[in-house]
Amino acid sequence: MSKFSTLIFISGLSFLLIVITAQLPIAHPPMLIGQYIIDHAVQDTGVTNIVTSVVLAYRGLDTLGELAILFTAASGVGLLLSNKLNTKLQPSTKTVRLSNSNFIIEHALNLLFPLLLVVGFYVIFHGHLTPGGGFQGGVIIASAFFLNILAKPYKSSDSEIESTHNNLTIIESLSGVTFIAIGLYALISGHDFLEPFLSHGQLGSLWSAGTLPFLYIAVGLKVGAELSSLLITLYDIDSEELTD
């Protein structure tokens, strides 16, 4: 009976959504602020990818908030799944890592790893010119490092994992602080927070768009480090519960 009422609710809701959608100006949006940004973004910020100018300049505070959310999620995962206490209490769980890797995977990885890194950094560095940027590149870098751990699980000892965590934490912090520091520099020198400075340079060249590429590099490093540490924490086989 409850399923029946749910179905009625759902069909009513979809009808409502269709009615609402019919009222929208489909394919002819009003673009009150969008048109202004399209017209002025190039003079204002010196980018060719206008979405980047929105992400980093017009709505830079959103991006900072977004980085903070990702950081919060990674902190939360670390807070919940750091089973240091557990492993101490459970001497029976062995620390032998599962080695379901093989020769082919390892050597394919050796080939793939630098390639992935190059692609990731390319996407980050060209964020103001072509589609892509810090987020996408950061994910690619994170996946490159995570593949490394997936393919060679038995080669990394506990101390190595610990030092990886240390390094990741430091990269995470420093890149986040760099993003804010670029913004704060503008604030202290009498402008608004996150206001782009430096000259715009030649439109379309790699060194252009003032501070925006630096912001994207900071975003890329932060996203990469955060997602790597998140994946490593989630994947931590040591705290695998049901292995007995």
Binding site: N49, V51, T52, L98, N100, V123, P131, G132, G133, F135, Q136, V139, I140, A142, S143, F146, L227, L230, L231, L234, Y235, E240, E241, L242, T243, D244
Partner: protein, 96 residues
């Protein structure tokens, strides 16, 4: 009907049917794979909508990272076995 509308029709059909698969397929791995198919279809749709940045993000984060996270979750919840759909039996080695 122009070509982009035709592509959109096919993609939307695939997307919605895999969304139903996510909800009702008994095997969890299949469900996660179906959710990854949704992300891939969304990538194509975003490309159709002339939003290359969004398409790249959806491909990298939705289809790639999201599915990876879900797959790791499957492994830690002992859902990672292909044969039995009555999965999630405690005491089995997840690595097998």
């Amino acid at each position: 009907m122009d070509i982009s509308a035709l592509i959109a029709l096919i993609i939307v059909f695939i997307m919605l049917s895999s969304a139903l698969c996510v909800l009702f397929l008994p095997n969890m791995i299949a469900a996660v794979m179906a959710s990854s198919v949704i992300s891939l279809s969304l990538t194509i749709i975003f490309a159709l909508l002339k939003a290359p940045d969004v398409a790249m993000t959806e491909a990298a984060i939705g289809a790639g990272l999201g599915s990876l996270i879900l797959a790791i979750g499957l492994k830690r919840l002992n859902y990672f076995n292909i044969e039995s759909h009555q999965s999630n039996v405690s005491g089995t080695d997840p690595g097998q």
